[in-house]
């Protein structure tokens, strides 16, 4: 959990510095931040709830005929 958080802090700092250097619009900051937050949330959820259905299980439920 700590490792995931540290990795995401590094990714956020790196992306922030990249966006600041390139003078990007606030909208780009928001989009990038949202994707990083979504990725962090996804990893944390599957780390904590290992029994949660995976994407493969979802596909299996829909397309297994």
């Amino acid at each position: 959990m700590i490792a995931i958080t540290v990795v995401f802090v590094v990714i956020t700092c790196y992306e922030l510095s990249y966006l600041i250097r390139r003078n990007r619009k606030p909208r780009t900051f928001w989009i990038t931040g949202s994707f990083i937050a979504a990725a962090y949330l996804y990893l944390m959820i599957i780390y904590h709830y290992k029994d949660l259905p995976s994407m493969s299980r979802v596909i299996e439920n829909i397309f297994n005929y």
Binding site: Y18, I31, F35, S56, N64
Partner: protein, 374 residues
């Protein structure tokens, strides 16, 4: 705008088809098709090529625009958005599955006490960096790796040759059952139909009119190498034993002995082959990042590469509890899902035809009404 040449595209697709198929397809194919597998491989490659050619044919109608953009005009904003999200899910999940297969392979064979998440994360980092570097970097990397990978792949048959039991070869002609051919080829066509992804990057390719030709020659080269590897495995081990191995190609490579001084060449050949997997995963992840950035109208796709790379690693670790479950999924539900996604550009074409008919019908109706009014 046009940044990838036809030769780079072709070399990339040879690697794209060969890398996963040589490592992970020969076992299941042998189990299902046995001695007839060489013919099933041919049919699968032809079917995959057909799917990809249809996508190119449709994409060429508006080759200087991205389907992500003109799709809105064809099927409407919301359906196009849903389709693009499905494509993103398909490609990121596929990249995750390939990453999982590579991780399982490394953990089982070479790094048994290393945690699989370490291998997946390291691989994911390298792939994210490649995606961040852009499409030119990935395709040029593929062109460079091609000669290294295929030099190693071309030498292998000569080194294994003396170990083969050539008397088995007659079964390749006597054990043919054309009735089973559809049943034994059907699950493997989507493995090659993945080439349809070219529709998303068509405006980035030079001389678009030659794309179909490029796909045909790249498919033929990859098919040639796959057939040679399949025949080597089947003649060396028999169809039943090949089907029982998790990695028959690796077992075949382990038979290589050059005199008394060079034995077990697989630690040299396997890292070279893994470079092909890296190219495949990079291309798949790039397509996801590219579609997302175009949908969100971002200037460049780089800021999304690490977050999608992390999601890919998460999907790889969470996709199945073991490799048996993963293989079962890949031969059953995934096949139907992949057919659905790979043939879906057909829906764009059909909707555009229906729209054209209605519009031309409406126009004709208005004209005839106008004539009556006059």
């Amino acid at each position: 705008m046009q940044r990838v040449s036809q030769i780079e595209l072709g070399l990339m697709f040879v690697l794209f088809n060969f890398s996963t198929a040589a490592g992970f397809l020969i076992g299941p194919l042998s189990k299902l098709a046995g001695y007839q597998g060489w013919l099933s491989l041919f049919v699968s490659q032809a079917g995959g090529l057909l799917i990809a050619c249809f996508s190119i044919w449709y994409g060429k109608k508006r080759s200087d625009e991205f389907i992500i953009h003109y799709g809105k005009e064809v099927v409407g904003k919301w359906i196009n958005l849903i389709m693009m999200i499905i494509y993103c899910l398909f490609f990121i999940h596929l990249a995750g599955v390939v990453l999982r297969q590579a991780t399982d392979f490394l953990v089982q064979i070479y790094l048994p006490s290393t945690p699989s998440w370490i291998i997946a994360s390291t691989f994911g980092l390298v792939i994210s960096i490649a995606v961040r570097s852009g499409i030119e970097a990935i395709f040029r990397c593929a062109a460079g790796f091609f000669f290294i990978i295929f030099s190693a792949a071309a030498i292998a048959p000569f080194l294994v040759g003396k170990e083969l039991d050539y008397q088995r070869a007659i079964a390749l002609l006597t054990h043919l059952n054309l009735k089973d051919l559809v049943h034994t080829s059907f699950p493997f066509i989507p493995w090659f139909g993945e080439m349809f992804l070219v529709i998303f990057i068509l405006p980035l390719i030079t001389q678009v009119e030659k794309t179909t030709r490029t796909l045909i020659w790249s498919s033929l080269i990859s098919l040639l190498f796959l057939e040679v590897f399949y025949l080597l495995c089947i003649i060396l081990f028999d169809d039943l034993l090949t089907g029982q191995f998790t990695y028959p190609t690796l077992e075949m490579l382990r038979f290589i002995r050059i005199g008394d001084f060079l034995e077990n060449l697989d630690p040299i050949v396997v890292p070279i082959w893994i470079a092909g997997l890296f190219i495949k995963m990079s291309v798949l992840l790039f397509i996801v990042v590219w579609i997302s950035s175009k949908l969100l109208q971002l200037k460049d796709s780089r800021p999304l590469s690490f977050s999608f790379g992390a999601i890919m690693v998460g999907m790889a670790m969470h996709s199945a509890s073991n490799s048996v479950e993963l293989n079962h999924f890949l031969q059953n539900a995934w096949v139907n899902f992949a057919y659905f996604v790979e043939i879906s550009p057909l829906s764009y074409w059909l909707i555009s035809i229906v729209k054209d008919r209605f519009q031309s019908g409406g126009r004709e109706g208005k004209i005839s009404l106008g004539e009556v009014d006059k």
